[in-house]
């Protein structure tokens, strides 16, 4: 089973994601700080991390830098208000799977599922949003 960890100062940031992922047999959990998520990434097998860029103990960029030093194989999604160009400038070279808006909508989550299909060969079957 694919495992995703969500990291944000407020759990409500990712309201709605958990349910959609659970529908696709993807296990999720949540961490309130970058340090807790980094500790978990070492201790527990994990496939993907979704972070809010504005964490209480570090920036999204600092989190990604620390994560790739510990385990570069974990994919990352960053929720950020930056423009596409600004986002690319900040995260170039870190292989970020995709950028979410703050409070991502269903279409963004479906795009994530499509990427995960390619990467993990999940063969996810789902209804397109209406």
């Amino acid at each position: 089973m694919i495992s995703i960890s969500m990291v944000s100062r407020d759990k409500r940031f990712f309201d709605g994601i958990e349910g959609i992922l659970a529908e696709n047999q993807i296990k999720t959990d949540w961490c309130s700080t970058g340090e807790k998520a980094l500790s978990k990434a070492i201790a527990v097998p994990m496939d993907l991390i979704i972070i809010d860029e504005d964490l209480p103990d570090m920036t999204g960029r600092q989190f990604i830098e620390k994560l790739v030093m510990k385990n570069s194989m974990i994919h990352c999604v960053v929720a950020s208000p930056l423009t596409k160009k600004e986002f690319h400038g900040r995260y170039e070279g870190f292989g970020i799977l995709m950028q979410f808006h703050i409070f991502p909508d269903r279409s963004e989550i479906e795009t994530l599922l499509e990427h995960m299909n390619h990467i993990f060969n999940l063969h996810i079957k789902r209804e397109k949003s209406r």
């Binding site: 790739v68 570069s72 194989m73 994919h75 400038g89 070279g93 995709m98 990427h115 990467i119």
Partner: protein
């Protein structure tokens, strides 16, 4: 480098007389050079895999599975660099020459340096 397998991201059909690809994730093939006692023993070609979104780690697995010891790049991002290091593949740097043969000769002769974390593309610095 006395013994081991070198991978070079390559354009087209690759080979020792071919040219290097500027982006290892999108290269057509990897030219693999087997070295024994500081001599080239064998040249082979490894086809790259499709580069999907978020697929910058695919070459890490591909080259690791094919027992590569060293990779020569013109540039690389922090995440794949860490990936190669974590699977034990040494990453060397030459961003000047496009030909494969001379950089392979230089690596075997010990004239190429490993890329540092602060030489990565974007992220922590610029190549």
């Amino acid at each position: 480098m006395k013994d081991g397998r070198i991978a070079i991201p390559s354009n087209g059909q690759g080979g020792l007389d071919g040219t290097r690809s500027g982006h290892f994730g999108h290269c057509d093939v990897f030219t693999l050079v087997d070295v024994e006692n500081a001599q080239i023993k064998e040249i082979s070609i490894l086809h790259n895999q499709e580069h999907v979104q978020g697929g910058c780690m695919v070459p890490v697995s591909l080259l690791s599975e094919n027992r590569v010891n060293a990779l020569i790049v013109g540039g690389i991002g922090m995440r794949p660099l860490m990936g190669f290091k974590q699977v034990g593949i040494h990453v060397y740097h030459d961003d000047q020459r496009t030909e494969i043969g001379p950089v392979v000769a230089d690596l075997i002769a010990g004239n190429l340096t490993e890329i540092r974390n602060d030489q990565v593309c974007g992220g922590g610095g610029q190549v």
